[in-house]
Symmetry: C2
Subunit: 212 residues, 2 copies
């Protein structure tokens, strides 16, 4: 876990860490105990200096002429990301994107467990999807407090995203992963990560046209 | 459509353009014909200078003291993004993430129509999902050529992503939207946009811990 701002590291480095985990777990599975930065650099298609800087933010250091101990580096990255302790999350909005994410099995591998979904559509409430119960929005506050859930995945339509985001902040949620196609305003104590697929589609469209 | 590199614009500007479209369509729906940059700046929570720079890349100019013509700006942005002509796309990998995206109705609004899904699991092939047929991988090349499809959404597991990406490049696909949790290497003529949810989860994890 990052102890202070200086150790927080740059966002691109943080975003690459899961790639290191994938490579390192592969090496571990193959019985390899040591990984050099040049080996990681080749596997990941990154400059060696980038590899060194990326790993530096986790506080793990390699041995000169040897490299990093694979198991230690895996632990160090997971510890830095907080992925060694599973975090519970709520999903809010059980529409098409919400169900898509409930059906995605990648989160659990990274220590994120969706424990409940919420919706205000009575037709959806009461059932479950992929083993996750769909509950009415009115239960959100009491459940967040009882289960100590601090992360919410927001998959409501754009026009209700702001209202729901304000509700989430009010329920003690400290991190919102926003898949709604709109920007949301929340108190400073809440971290928001926007996952805007239309932004990505815009970027891809222009890159294809201009062969970037 | 961007005519040359100078007009391509910066990626963050491009990625914000869909937000402008959403606000402008709202204004158009409300019968508003003119939008000032200060109005757009307030709606989007962006500095006015950012709004001006963002719109500049589309080649649309406003009138001093008046603003932008809403209909003209919508057309200009859609034209720049190539969203006024619907593009057909293939989805490759009809697993949990693939089905999630097939069920997501946001793409069509942005001129992206998934016309076929491909998978090499015989249990999935032959059926359809949300009206989209699921076909065997062996049909990909002939269909890409016959239907002139140039965009592929890649939702296969990480360990087969590289092999499939190479196949896609070989089939004349020029843009890959990569949801597979791995980096892929393709010829320079192919644009790749990585949509790595584990990278986003890493970023969110650290931001929550350090309240960024």
């Amino acid at each position: 876990m990052p102890k202070n701002a200086a150790k927080v590291g740059k966002i691109p480095s943080i975003r690459r860490l899961p790639q290191y985990l994938r490579v390192l777990r592969g090496l571990e599975g193959a019985g390899q105990e040591v990984a050099s930065s040049s080996m990681l650099s080749t596997s990941l298609g990154l400059e060696q200096i980038v590899v060194k800087k990326d790993i530096e933010i986790t506080g793990i250091t390699g041995k000169t002429g040897v490299g990093y101990m694979v198991a230690e580096l895996i632990d160090g990255i997971e510890d830095y990301l907080g992925w060694n302790n599973s975090s519970d999350a709520f999903l809010v909005g059980a529409g098409s994107m919400g169900k898509a994410l409930l059906g995605y099995d990648g989160f659990r591998r990274h220590g994120l467990q969706i424990v409940a979904a919420f919706d205000n559509d009575e037709g959806k409430v009461g059932g479950e999807y992929k083993g996750v119960p769909v509950l009415p929005m009115s239960k959100l506050k009491s459940l967040a407090s009882r289960l100590h859930v601090h992360i919410a995945i927001l998959t409501v339509p754009g026009d209700s995203a702001q209202e729901v985001a304000s509700q989430l902040a009010d329920c003690g949620i400290s991190g919102i992963w926003n898949f709604a196609p709109t920007t949301i305003q929340v108190p400073e104590s809440v971290s928001v990560l926007n996952e805007d697929l239309s932004a990505s589609l815009a970027e891809l469209s222009v890159r294809i046209q201009s062969n970037m």
